[in-house]
């Protein structure tokens, strides 16, 4: 299977123009033998939409035509990002796998950064499910959006569901321009090293392919980092895009290679999610019932603890 990443720089708020550009890239990629094209977070609209997210939001229903982007009807398999108008009226930051113009799968971003320069909880609702899905040729795919990847429990939940390919659609602004020399490499942004570490570590820990599409371009004062990666199940970088500029990268991936990479190890085989669940339940109960433990001492928002939601 040939997997590609389009590292695009969307025109902010212009879904039609962005869809047309992605469609053109997808056609070129298919002509080059690409089977699946991944694009970054909110690749159809740009990132800093503010309350325009609600105006651009469109229904994204698995199994139905992708009416929000008819330009992609002939684009083959492509993963795009857009504001989704949910059936509950909530707008979600969604990544959708389109197959010949129909929605095969959608993932609603679970963790919406709302700190520092980020403001996503003002405009989007949180997704509540982490599901894997099957694709042709025996591929089982997990899809995450940007900040989701910083929460290792999500990759774990997908690994438990048997994925062999993790797709991450992201739009992180580049950080650390003034840190010189960078701790790792001579790139534009120190932050690129962090993303690469996460991708390579996740791939190696679970013995899966990781494709991470990071957008390029500028919005306001923020420069998006680029540096998209395709990482093999041994943690090796198979393809790398340049920083901060548009690019198309591709790599061949195979289930046989994935099986071979897992053979010397037993990490995936030995994982025990039932035991993890039992321990997690016990730990949360102990944390919430401990009189000596302040409510903000553990990981997680105290409001989401069992006693607060029951």
């Amino acid at each position: 299977m040939r997997l590609a990443i389009l590292q695009n720089a969307p025109v902010l708020g212009d879904l039609r123009a962005n869809a047309a550009r992605i469609a053109a890239s997808a056609r070129a990629a298919r002509a080059d033998g690409v089977d699946l094209l991944l694009t970054p977070e909110l690749s159809l609209t740009g990132y800093d939409l503010g309350d325009e997210a609600a105006l651009l939001a469109a229904p994204v229903r698995p199994g139905e035509p992708a009416d929000f982007a008819p330009e992609l009807a002939e684009a083959g398999d492509v993963v795009v990002g857009l504001p989704e108008l949910g059936g509950d009226g909530v707008v979600y930051n969604t990544a959708a796998h389109l197959a010949s113009g129909r929605v095969l799968f959608r993932h609603r971003k679970r963790y919406l950064p709302t700190y520092g320069m980020f403001d996503e909880l003002r405009w989007f609702g949180c997704g509540r499910r982490i599901d894997a899905y099957d694709w042709r040729g025996g591929w089982r795919i997990g899809l995450l959006v940007c900040e989701d990847f910083w929460h290792p429990a999500l990759a774990y939940l997908l690994a438990v569901q048997g994925i062999n390919l993790l797709l991450v659609a992201a739009a992180p602004p580049g950080r650390g321009v003034l840190i010189a020399p960078h701790a790792e490499g001579d790139g534009l942004f120190a932050s690129a090293a962090v993303w690469e570490r996460m991708a390579r570590t996740t791939a190696q820990l679970y013995g899966i392919y990781v494709a991470m599409a990071i957008r390029a371009g500028v919005e306001g004062g923020a420069t998006f980092a680029g540096g998209s990666l395709i990482v093999g199940p041994g943690g090796d970088v198979l393809a790398r895009a340049p920083e901060a500029e548009e690019a198309l990268i591709a790599a061949d991936v195979s289930l046989a290679e994935l099986a071979r990479s897992r053979r010397p190890y037993a990490h995936a085989r030995d994982e025990d999610p039932a035991w993890t669940l039992a321990e997690l339940t016990r730990a949360l109960a102990a944390t919430s019932s401990s009189p000596s433990r302040p409510p903000d001492a553990g990981i997680g928002d105290p409001r989401s603890r069992p006693e607060a939601t029951s």
């Binding site: 520092g116 320069m117 580049g174 321009v177 003034l178 534009l188 500028v218 004062g221 420069t223 901060a244």
Partner: protein
């Protein structure tokens, strides 16, 4: 890639996008001849190409005016109607400068002010220009990139009173970039100037809430993740 190349690449990208987003037909840098202006001049030229103009902050000389009016014939009328000789143009310098600014603010051009971050966070009256290409570079960063820096007289005096620009920028970095408590960040500074720095930071809060566009370079950038 050198630090100057890295920073330049970000500033050029942001300035180029700002020019496109604003629909402006020119990028004007208020060029006061400072080290900041020299840096910004290079990057604005790269961002805007033939759409870049550098304009002195105080007034225009005859040569500058000739260059501007030859490059932008349509501005002659905005600047005061048909003016036949350049000596007269020079005499009209200040008024023309003001009118150019007004025309730019109305959408004809994008104005850029090369103020550095030290001056920006301590100035109670922030610059009105919509693009601040060096607004995330401390004075000491500019010194590293350009061999010198500039500050308004009052802030330069403040720096001297607290032990120099390195001491002042060190305290501001601790307070703003590293998010340390104000008292802790300013503790290394000499009294009584420390209280004056604290007073200046507080007095500048109002201005910091409405700064122009600053290319993000550091961990906390005015207008992006530094709001007060």
């Amino acid at each position: 890639m050198t630090l100057r190349e890295r920073v330049g690449r970000i500033v050029v990208g942001v300035a180029r996008q700002a020019l496109a987003d604003s629909g402006a037909d020119a990028l004007i840098l208020l060029d006061d001849g400072s080290p900041e202006a020299l840096l910004a001049r290079d990057w604005c030229t790269e961002a805007a190409g033939p759409l870049f103009l550098a304009v002195g902050r105080e007034a225009l000389g005859a040569g500058e005016m000739r260059a501007i009016l030859e490059a932008r014939p349509g501005w002659r009328e905005q600047a005061g109607g048909p003016i036949l000789d350049l000596d007269a143009l020079a005499a009209e310098g200040r008024r023309l400068d003001a009118r150019l600014r007004a025309a730019a603010m109305a959408g004809g051009a994008l104005l850029a002010n090369p103020i550095n971050k030290t001056a920006l966070v301590l100035s109670a009256a922030g610059p009105p220009e919509p693009l601040l290409p060096l607004g995330d570079l401390w004075a000491t960063d500019v010194r590293e990139l350009a061999g010198g820096y500039s500050l308004p007289t009052t802030i330069r005096a403040l720096a001297e009173n607290v032990g120099g620009i390195d001491a002042l920028d060190g305290a501001l970095r601790a307070c703003i970039d590293e998010r340390r408590a104000l008292e802790e960040a300013l503790a290394p500074l000499a009294d009584p100037a420390r209280a004056r720095v604290q007073g200046a930071l507080v007095a500048a809060r109002f201005a910091r809430r409405r700064v122009g566009l600053v290319p993000k370079l550091g961990p906390r950038t005015p207008g992006i993740d530094l709001f007060a």
